[in-house]
Amino acid sequence: MSEPEPRLVAKGICKSFLGFKALDNVDFSIRSGEIHALLGENGAGKSTLIKVLTGVVKADSGVIVLNGEPVAVRDTLHAQQLGIGTVYQEVNLLPNLTVAENLYIGRQPKRFGLVDARSMRRQARALLAQYDISIDVSAQLSSFSVAVQQLIAIARAVDMSGAVLVLDEPTASLDSHEVELLFAVMRKLRARGIGIIFITHFLDQVYAVSDRITVLRNGRVMGTHESKLLSKVELVSLMLGRTLAAATEHGRRLAPAASERKISFGQFGRARSIAPFDLTIGAGEVVGVAGLLGSGRTETARLMFGVDMPDSGSIEIEGRPVRIASPRAAIRFGFGLCPEDRKADGIIGDLSVRENIALALQARHGWFKRMSTREQTDLATRFVKALDIRTTDIEKPVKLLSGGNQQKVILARWLATQPRFLILDEPTRGIDVGAHAEIIELINRLCDDGLALVVISSEIEEIVAYSTRVRVIRDRVHVGELTGNDISTGNIMRAIAQEGAAQ
């Protein structure tokens, strides 16, 4: 077998953060002259793997072999010296400097001890000419489009590396023409023998440019495949997995009898965020929202909760048109949102369980009518019991609780306000399997109590387990809805992979 020589091999990489296994025995290799797509949902371990390879963080165990020699990458500068160039997710350049300065900062040519600006500009022009870019290199970087900036970042990374190039979501802010331009550059570099690691969420782009695909899920490699031999459906199922414990399978939920208490969103949309959609949800319903990361799931939630303003559309609650201009207004109408990143947007880690639970209710009372500590204690005790929140004490800071219990605290906070409509964005992310099942159980119970729920999740089996209807979102458009017996993992995956199962 004449396998091409691998450029970079990572073997048995493990990395834990505070006991959470971000990478679990990961093997990954990239050949010379190959574009290798690295895929996985958020938190799958892609960025941690990249950080290990480029020296931003150190692996707990495992070896990295570059061009046949084992290396220990100390820091980003060392990685650059070893020939590993990286373009990080956000364009990491300096918008306040000129293009030439951005390309050569730290290694400017000197003459008589001073920076030789003229020869720096000449070199910069020559460098960019290789990418068919001819621009004024003495102009400020910020005066160019994001696409050009991205190409400049790549030119810099390639110029400093030459062995391996890592592109972390380089296309997120590019339009289709700019993406083509980038792909042309990538193919050129591949022909030069550079190994390119390409991270993206856009599956079409993966197939357009990559030679091989490695899928990560929960810190493990789910497999490395030739792009040509892997179908989209197979890829999606690798990314989203089918491993959720069967414990949550209760059989299909039945759609509740049509309820009068309905909330309907009509032609709700926002430019560059999510195309207009219709959604009607009645009490006792759970609408699952499925789609890949970046497809517009979270945007849908933010729009419905009044975080972002819609450009178009209307809301009716029980037949009455209303206007929701802010999350405060949404809360007044009995809406609630448990955001995706609970650390950043949800819990307040240093406050106690009691204070966190009382927060939303207190906010609704207004700040001048303070809830007494006793009221708060009663409230917290009730919910700790009802939701089975495992804490030794309701005065314990929330940050000391496990992920699942933190999630329950947020749920309790909203339930305390007695909402009619609750949006849960990834309620089970980063939660161990046991707590997972409990949260799902809880969702089912809430629904029986007559709450209208929208649950966004990457775990398709989970969505199947509790949804009465399933919305599928792809590329910022609500592309279909599955109901009744059509709800199955296979159908949802096909709808996401655009092979037309949903109407």
């Binding site: 350049l93 900062i105 920076v115 910020s142």
Partner: protein, 327 residues
Amino acid sequence: MMSSRLLPFYATVVICVLAYAVCVFQFPNMLSTRVLGNLLTDNAFLGIAAVGMTFVILSGGIDLSVGSVIGFTGVLIAVLISWYGVHPLAAFFIALVIATAFGAVMGAVIHYLDVPAFIVTLAGMFLARGMAFVITTESIPIKHEFYSTLSGLFVRMPGGGRITFIGGLMVLVFVAGIMLAHFTRFGSYVYAIGGNKVSAELMGVPVARTTIAIYALSGFLSGLAGIVFSLYTSAGYSLSAVGVELDTIAAVVIGGTLLTGGVGLVAGTFVGVIIQGIIQTYIVFDGTLSSWWTKIVVGLLLFAFIALQRLLVVLSARKGSLRGAIP
């Protein structure tokens, strides 16, 4: 460079020229090289300290210890010369070494302990002022032959104006500052850190070394400003130069440097200093106005410039999003 980035600088230049024209219109006597020479001499210490402040602000930081370091240096020099009979040159050397080290330590604390520059230099401000008081609370006159020679040095301009030693020194410091900012790697590192520290670090800019050097430079120039101030007043007093750091910050901002860092010119700071000088001169010529009017006008100018910069940022952001929308 994009011209809108330089707009605050151009605005400053226009205001400076206009202000001078207004003065000359009212007091024709102000159109003389004498006034120009005095403008340089009277604002020499402010200008020198403002060069250091420009680098600090360009890097996204702030240095509140400037005035205290000037006061401390002045007292230290006066005591060394008058009480201990040290030669002025040796006293200068000692003062500069201490001031530079003081700045370097603040820079190291800011970087390694990751404490906001505002807090660290606030502590530095109290520390330096306190040290000045510990040395002496009295005003110490400096009587030394070398001193009178130095402060007597001047170059005559056509029209009878004099460029004194300290005025000339300020101009030299500005020229050196401009070279440092625009023609050295250190200069580009300063802009890089002010633009985005995280990006700068990922691009391989030596952030630690540069941060320390920036505050050391500011300390050194504050020390130099202290020397110039003692030459100017021929005395050292622990209460002198209180609040000068705020005047230098005003000069830097009026000169078109963005307070958030990354954008600005050392030359702009020069114009900023001169504008303050012109206002002061106007008040002196007028004779009836309180000298506090300087502060009022400077305050108004600051407001105007911060508003202008904010406006430019908003406008360029809007332009940027348009550009993003239309490929």
